[in-house]
C-alpha cells in the first residue's frame, strides 16, 4: 500500500479541569489514503470534535501525532482545509467574495482567484447567487458556500465537522450526495466527523467508530457500496448492511456508557 496521506499515531488527549484529569481520546490510530473519504462516528461525548480540531491543527494532542505526508501537524496549515459545523460564512462578504477568501489571503492575483472562485461557486450549485449575501441564503446554501470556500484552496485534506448537522435529514443526505460529486471532481481527500449513521454509510470509503469516553478506535469499517453513489444508494442492500454494522457497534457503546453511569451513581448513593 502506498504511503498514507495522513497518519494518526497513538494519539491521546487529556484535559485538566479542576485538578481532575479527563481523558478525551486514547491511543487513536488510523490512516487516510489520498482520495479517500473517511468518516468518524461515535456516541456523543466521545471526543469527535476534539479529534477533528487536533487533525486540523487547531489543537495539539497530549501525546502521539498527526502526520501529513510524513510531516507532523503542529498548527493550522494550508494543506488542511476545515469546514465547520456552525454557520461560518462571512456575513460582510458576498457568496463570491466568501469563496475567494482563502485564495485572496494567499496573495493570488485577483483575476486568477476570481476565476477559480467562479468555477467553484458553479460546482457547488450556487451559480446566479455570486453577488448575494449569506443572510439572503438558506442554511443549506450557506453551508455550500463554506464548503466551496474550503475546497477552492485545494487543500491536501479536508476536515469536516458535521457540515450538515444543522439541517434536516433529507436535505442532509441530498447535500451529502452532492458533496460526493464535488469531492470526486476536485479529487479531495475528506475526513468527516458526524453522528449520522446514514450520512457516514452513504459517503465513506472507510468509517472509524469511536468508543464512548475515553474515545478509542473501536471498529474500522470498510464500505462495500459501489461508486459513484448518490442518495439512491440509500435503498441498496449494501447500504443496509453497513448501517446495520454501525448501529450495532454504536448501540453497544451507548449501552456500556449507560452502564458506567449507572455504576457511578450507585457508588455515589452507597457513600
Amino acid at each position: 500500500m502506498a504511503e498514507p496521506l495522513m497518519k494518526v499515531e497513538n494519539l491521546t488527549k487529556v484535559y485538566n479541569s479542576d485538578a481532575k484529569e479527563v481523558v478525551a481520546l486514547k491511543n487513536i490510530e488510523f490512516t487516510v489514503q489520498k482520495g479517500e473519504f473517511i468518516s468518524i462516528v461515535g456516541p456523543s461525548g466521545c471526543g469527535k470534535t476534539t479529534l477533528l480540531e487536533i487533525l486540523s491543527g487547531l489543537r495539539l494532542p497530549t501525546t502521539g501525532s498527526v502526520k501529513i505526508k510524513g510531516k507532523a501537524v503542529t498548527g493550522p496549515q494550508r494543506s488542511i482545509g476545515i469546514v465547520f459545523q456552525e454557520e461560518s460564512t462571512f456575513p460582510w462578504r458576498t457568496v463570491l467574495e466568501n469563496v475567494e477568501f482563502g485564495l485572496q489571503m494567499q496573495g493570488m492575483p485577483k483575476a486568477e482567484y476570481r476565476d477559480k472562485a467562479h468555477k467553484m461557486v458553479e460546482l457547488v450549485g450556487l451559480k446566479g447567487f455570486e453577488n448575494s449575501y449569506p443572510f439572503e441564503l438558506s442554511g443549506g446554501m450557506r453551508q455550500r458556500v463554506a464548503i466551496a470556500r474550503t475546497l477552492v484552496t485545494q487543500p491536501e485534506i479536508v476536515v469536516m465537522d458535521e457540515p450538515f448537522g444543522a439541517l434536516d435529514e433529507q436535505t442532509r443526505l441530498i447535500l451529502g450526495g452532492e458533496l460526493l460529486k464535488i469531492v470526486e471532481q476536485t479529487k479531495a481527500t475528506v475526513v468527516l466527523v458526524t453522528h449520522s449513521i446514514q450520512e457516514a454509510a452513504l459517503l465513506s470509503d472507510k468509517i472509524v467508530v469511536l468508543s464512548a469516553r475515553p474515545g478509542k478506535v473501536k471498529y474500522l469499517i470498510k464500505s462495500t457500496l459501489p461508486k459513484p453513489r448518490d442518495a439512491t444508494a440509500l435503498t441498496t442492500p449494501e447500504f443496509a448492511e453497513i448501517t446495520q454494522k454501525l448501529w450495532s457497534s454504536l448501540e453497544e457503546e451507548s449501552l456500556t456508557k449507560r452502564h458506567d453511569v449507572d455504576n457511578d451513581s450507585s457508588r455515589v448513593v452507597g457513600q
Partner: protein, 247 residues
C-alpha cells in the same frame, strides 16, 4: 411608499406649524413661523462673519471632538478587548464615565485648556468617548469564535486577522458607537458653547435669546438641527455602503 408617507408627515406638520404661527394660534413671542426661521438661517449664512466665527468654528469643533472620540475610542476599546486585566479593572470606571456631568466641570476645563475651542472640543470628546469605547470592546468580544477559527485555519497573519476578520466582524457594533458619538459630540459642543464660549452656534443661540432676538435664535437653532440631520444622513449612507463593501 414609506418614504412618501414619512415625507408627507413632515410636510404636513410644517404647514400646520406655519399656519398656527401665522394665524396667531401660538404665542408669537415664543414661536415664529418656519419660513421666518429659514430666512433667518439663510441670512445668517450669507454673513461672512457668522460663517467664519460661529458656523465654521462649531463645525470644526464638532468634527474634532467626533474624530477624537472615534480614534481614541477604538484604541481604548481594542485595549479593553485584548486585555482581560484592563477590562476587569476599567469596566466600573467606564460605567461611571457615562454618569459624569462633564458640563458641570467646565470651569476646570477652562483652567486646564484655556479659553477658545480646546475646552469645547475636549468636553464634546469626553462626552462621546464612552459610547465608542464600549461598543468597540463589545463588538470585538462578541465576534463568533468560528469566524476566528476560519481565519486561523487559513493561517492568517495577525494583521490579516485584524483587517479581514476582526474589524469587519465587529464593524456593525463599532459603527453603532460611532453614530452615538456623532450625536453626543454635537450635543457636547453646542451645550458647552452656551456656557463658556464667545464663538460658535451655541453662543449665538444663547446670545440671541438673552437679547430677545427670537428670529436670530431660531435661525441658529435650525442650523444646528440641519447639521445634526446632515451628519446622520452621511453616516447612514456610509453604513449602508460599508456593510456591502469592506473586504
Amino acid at each position: 411608499m414609506h418614504r412618501l408617507i414619512q415625507t408627507l408627515i413632515v410636510v404636513c406638520l410644517l404647514v400646520l406649524y406655519e399656519l398656527a404661527t401665522r394665524m396667531n394660534w401660538l404665542d408669537s413671542f415664543t414661536f415664529i413661523p418656519f419660513s421666518t426661521m429659514f430666512v433667518n438661517m439663510i441670512e445668517n449664512l450669507t454673513d461672512p462673519e457668522y460663517v467664519t466665527n460661529h458656523f465654521g468654528v462649531t463645525a470644526l469643533e464638532i468634527l474634532a471632538s467626533f474624530m477624537g472620540a472615534i480614534i481614541f475610542g477604538i484604541i481604548f476599546g481594542i485595549i479593553l478587548w485584548r486585555s482581560d486585566f484592563a477590562h476587569h479593572v476599567l469596566q466600573p470606571y467606564l460605567m461611571l464615565f457615562y454618569a459624569i456631568p462633564f458640563f458641570a466641570l467646565y470651569p476646570i476645563f477652562i483652567s486646564i485648556f484655556g479659553i477658545g475651542p480646546l475646552p469645547v472640543i475636549m468636553i464634546g470628546l469626553f462626552f462621546a468617548l464612552p459610547a465608542v469605547i464600549t461598543n468597540t470592546a463589545i463588538g470585538f468580544r462578541e465576534i463568533r469564535k468560528v469566524l476566528v477559527k476560519v481565519g486561523q485555519s487559513c493561517n492568517l497573519s495577525f494583521r490579516q486577522m485584524i483587517v479581514h476578520i476582526y474589524f469587519p466582524a465587529a464593524w456593525p457594533f463599532i459603527f453603532t458607537g460611532i453614530k452615538l458619538a456623532a450625536a453626543y459630540s454635537i450635543i457636547g459642543v453646542i451645550a458647552t458653547e452656551f456656557i463658556l464660549s464667545a464663538r460658535g452656534l451655541g453662543y449665538t443661540i444663547s446670545y440671541a435669546y438673552n437679547n430677545f432676538d427670537i428670529n436670530g435664535m431660531y435661525g441658529s437653532v435650525l442650523l444646528v438641527i440641519m447639521i445634526a440631520l446632515t451628519v446622520n444622513i452621511v453616516l447612514g449612507f456610509i453604513e449602508a455602503r460599508a456593510y456591502r463593501k469592506n473586504s
